[in-house]
Amino acid sequence: MNILSMENIKKSFGSNEVLKDISFKVNKGEVVSIIGTSGGGKSTLLRCATLLETIDDGTITYMGEDVTYYDQNGKLCYAKDLNHFKKFFGLVFQNFNLFPHFSVLKNVMDAPVTVLKRDREEVKKECLELLDKMGLADKATAYPCELSGGQQQRVSIVRALAMKPDILFFDEPTSALDPELTGEVLKVIKALADEKMTMVIVTHEMAFARAVSDRVVFIDGGVILEQGTPEEVFVNTKNERTRQFLQNYNS
């Protein structure tokens, strides 16, 4: 089943057409990496999928339910209860965006308790387990400013997981980290992939994308130029533009 289905998505900022008719689906348990040049539309696609940006045209569906529809005048509309759809996904930001005034534990517990209205003790137990799994058990009472970038990013992954999403999006999760800290975050994502967590990862880490993904999508100029297994995209590259891009990366 498709967890997310985006069809014929178009998005412009002013006269700048960032997404030109992109269709993109994610199946349950699938790990998809999105690669491509900066400004090519990767992040915008992710922001449209996570409802941070509104699309100009196309349809978005989560778990078979329509997020967008066309009214009788043919005008694109968003569903009234967007919070219903927000339960399906989580997003890990490039800059973590942890809440600085909350402790680590409160950062990960607050949304399940105050948004989903779940039982505090039960949530706390789950969150402590998740933190433990991510090697952050001793940081539960620390504040984000006391953590390294890699630790902060792992906390933000736990924060997203605590909402029990069906699909997790990553927007360049290691781009803001020192090179020696990227490993610990990538390891966590890899572990989630092994657990068959459905994930979409926008990344510049080619070796990682190749190792962890079921499917790699190359986006440039607002369109998907190539997609397939890591083998197909990285080794048997068909598209000339993709090849150029990968060459620049390898050199």
């Binding site: 996570t50 409802l51 941070l52 919070n83 927000k86 339960k87 996904f89 989580g90 997003l91 930001f93 800059n95 965006n97 942890l98 809440f99 600085p100 005034h101 607050d110 949304a111 105050t114 948004v115 989903l116 504040y143 984000p144 400013c145 924060r159 909402m163």
Partner: protein, 226 residues
């Protein structure tokens, strides 16, 4: 008049007024009203409805662009003056009420601009993180944004609060019995300068306490960095 008699007099006058308490009343009532009111004004100022934002901007600019003394007189004497034009005779209410209204509105305008700066300085990512997690707009503001705003603006608010301590003396212009009103009256009637020195010491001690208290507030918020 010796100094201890003077201080006793400033605490309780023979007419039964309490000048020091008058000053303290203006100070605390103004803060209690204007600090929350400023948040509301700031949110209206930031409203996406342009008309609301412009109207609020206009009022803020008037309140900041005219003397507090003038505003105080308008609020105190305006209602009965207008009533008289229409042939009614409005009895003067307890002076503390118009004084606190004028001060609160004036300070809310200043606080609103401080809040606005604080709200605008919270990174976009904080709103987006909350949005993705499903926080409603009001929950985002109250749980995520406002606490960070408060931490950012404490130093600027301290400045305003210090100014407020000194501004309470402006209430003498409408003859509300607070410290400065009484000090000025005694200085003139007894031809002595000493009351002014006593007043100076009083305001200084008051502000010293304010600075200590605000320092404590600042310190209590220093457990995290933004």
């Amino acid at each position: 008049m010796d100094i201890s008699t003077l201080i006793k007099h400033l605490w309780l006058t023979p007419q039964g007024n309490m000048p020091i308490l008058g000053t303290v009343y203006i100070f605390f009532l103004t803060l209690i009203i204007s600090l929350p009111l400023g948040i509301i004004v700031a949110l209206l100022r930031l409203s996406k409805v342009k008309v609301i934002s412009y109207i609020v901007q206009f009022f803020i600019s008037v309140l900041r662009g005219t003397p507090l003394m003038l505003q105080l007189m308008v609020v105190t004497y305006g209602p009965s003056f207008i009533a008289k034009q229409f042939g009614y005779n409005l009895s003067m209410p307890e002076k503390l009420i118009p004084v606190v209204i004028a001060f609160s509105i004036n300070y809310a305008a200043y606080f609103a601009e401080i809040y606005r700066g604080g709200i605008e300085s919270v990174p976009r990512g904080q709103y987006e993180a909350a949005e993705v997690l499903g926080y409603s707009k009001s929950k985002t503001f109250i749980r995520i944004i406002l606490p960070q705003v408060i931490k950012r603006i404490v130093p600027s608010v301290t400045n305003e609060v210090i100014t407020l301590v000194k501004d309470t003396s402006i209430a003498f212009t409408v003859s509300y019995v607070e410290l400065f009103t009484e000090v000025k009256r005694i200085a003139i009637s007894h031809s002595t300068f000493m009351p002014f020195i006593v007043a100076g010491v009083f305001y200084y001690i008051f502000n010293f306490l304010v600075t200590v208290a605000m320092g404590k507030v600042e310190k209590s918020l220093s457990y995290y960095r933004i």
